[in-house]
Symmetry: C2
Subunit: 339 residues, 2 copies
């Protein structure tokens, strides 16, 4: 082991379309020194999330702007190495938007404690973190499925979709997932216990969905946009609710094809784009609910792990193209001993 | 005057794109005989509304299906000629969905009384009827503009848009209209007293709108869809509300271009398609509000009248292409004496 450095993944250039390996560059630099109120961290887990692609495409609502040389943004679970804040001591586990780097210096105000006794700490990035809360908020606040209503979830095998569908099922709804290959669809039905799952590669997706939704779609939890969204719009039931969570199939596209809104008019639908960012105060409530469901077996989750920060771009692209199952993570370092 | 007949306008075929004169045919037939609970009516005014184009295109939620030979659907104000229902006597003025015909037979349950002492009876089809109620419901329930917020209304010189903008202004909002030619834009600002109006023929509509909405668009009351909608989506403020009332620019198009939803995601917008049909019970409340505003000069309206039922197709197309100012009507017969 040489002198420890902060290794970070920076943008080499702004990706066009699907990110390529050479859109990124590895930078080794001296580890920073925490100032007053700051922490030096050692990253354990990096979270791969679709919003990062949106940031790379120039979306402005994520703090720092995407530009060549900028460290890729992203949430991470880390161990506190040094603390200049009374709230944290070395060895604490924290979670925050600290980006793709091995040894970030972060404001103590910008991270939160992770209770390692509750569950594996990686879940703070998935089912017990923002993706889980996103799914819960979108289903409970926007989707509001009544008992027996039909709910469709796109990207059903993903970190958000897998939870969204299980939340809806736990609310008494009939849940139909849309996922990629047959293995994923089987996972969605067999492990996540959705009522059905349709492959978005089905040559007649509309007909396949219509078979599973004979009374129409009351709630659509949309993670993807793209052709899946158009197919679901064609099946909306009267008074349908659309929880617009993401448009991952369209991020970075210079010319998204756009969606015909006439079915929304015909069904008197409501579409609400929502964000977890203004609902972070509800995280404790979600963690209580989710932990109880996990204990009862009413909420299951999967993680899709790639090892090594240098493979973060690869892990990220795998997640974007839908080759991951469950929460996509990069393991940057081992958990501290005793965890 | 020969023997009176029921003259009706029927579909000759399903229109493709903008309706043409020979998509319609005039049919003279014997006047029907009202059965128990029915009325024989003499049509005075026909209402020209965008939803009729939607019906012609196959939309299913308007009762009878569009087919060659079918009388064109539409609301009308009529005089009762003969009544087999205790609630109506000859000479009464009624309003109902009685279609493009001079002497309909209608169920008494399907029409409502028009109070001719309140205002000219034609207003039952416009400002004091469904278009007015539509505007009010959409602005009050969905748009909900706060004092000082910016509201954009498309088809601002039309029957619904003209009222929607005035309602928003009366609620304390800053109102920007979108209309066609300069004369309409002047009407929207000078007569309807919107704060500004932009022509949708402006070669850079987005820039023109941005100048009038420097803080973004908080509420968009959408009557049209089409490129106007894309321009407004590009200017949505955080937490914007979109009241989706109609997509008249897209009705009958076999291949609507579709709308990029990414701006809705970025602004965390809510879009709600709403219908007056489930709000008809609020008509009395709207009439009270509207009548008071009309008396105070806080709500003005225009009517665009074409005479003769045989000219209904022409009047309808003029309305669809946006050549009318205010509520588009066809006068089929004179008001009864003394009105």
């Amino acid at each position: 082991m040489g002198t420890p450095v902060n290794r970070r993944v920076a943008l080499a250039r702004i990706p066009q379309g699907m990110p390529q390996t050479d859109d990124f560059t590895l930078v080794d630099e001296p580890i920073g020194t925490p100032g007053a109120g700051e922490l030096l961290l050692r990253t354990i887990w990096l979270s791969m999330d679709p919003y990062q692609r949106n940031w790379m495409g120039g979306a402005r609502n994520y703090g720092t702007a995407a530009a060549p040389g900028a460290t890729v943004i992203g949430r991470a679970v880390s161990e506190v190495v040094a603390s200049n804040d009374l709230r944290f001591v070395p060895g604490d586990i924290v979670c925050g938007e600290t980006g793709w780097q091995t040894h970030p210096v972060a404001s103590a105000d910008a991270v939160e404690s992770v209770d390692a006794s509750l569950a594996p700490v990686s879940t703070a990035l998935g089912v017990l973190g923002s993706p889980g809360l996103t799914a819960w908020v979108g289903m409970v606040d926007v989707g509001k499925p009544a008992r027996g209503e039909t709910v469709v979830v796109s990207a059903a095998a993903g970190a958000v979709g897998s939870v969204a569908g299980q939340v809806a099922r736990n609310m008494g709804a009939r849940v139909v997932g849309v996922a990629g290959d047959p293995a994923k669809c089987r996972h969605v039905v067999d492990d996540l216990r959705f009522d059905a799952c349709v492959s978005h590669r089905d040559p007649d997706l509309g007909a396949a969905l219509a078979r599973e939704c004979p009374g129409g779609v009351d709630v659509y939890f949309d993670n993807t946009g793209g052709p899946v969204t158009d197919a679901v719009y064609g099946l909306l039931a009267r008074n349908a609710r659309i929880a617009l969570c993401g448009l991952v199939a369209e991020y970075g596209a210079s010319d998204a094809r756009g969606h015909d809104l006439r079915p929304l008019l015909a069904s008197q639908a409501t579409l609400k784009a929502f964000s977890v960012r203004r609902n972070l105060h509800r995280m404790p409530a979600w963690r209580r609910q989710a932990s109880a469901w996990i204990r009862e077996g009413a909420l299951v989750y999967r993680e899709d792990v790639v090892a090594g920060i240098e493979r973060a771009p690869e892990a990220f692209t795998r997640m974007l193209v839908g080759r991951t199952l469950g929460k996509a993570l990069v393991r940057v370092a081992e958990d501290p001993p005793g965890r």
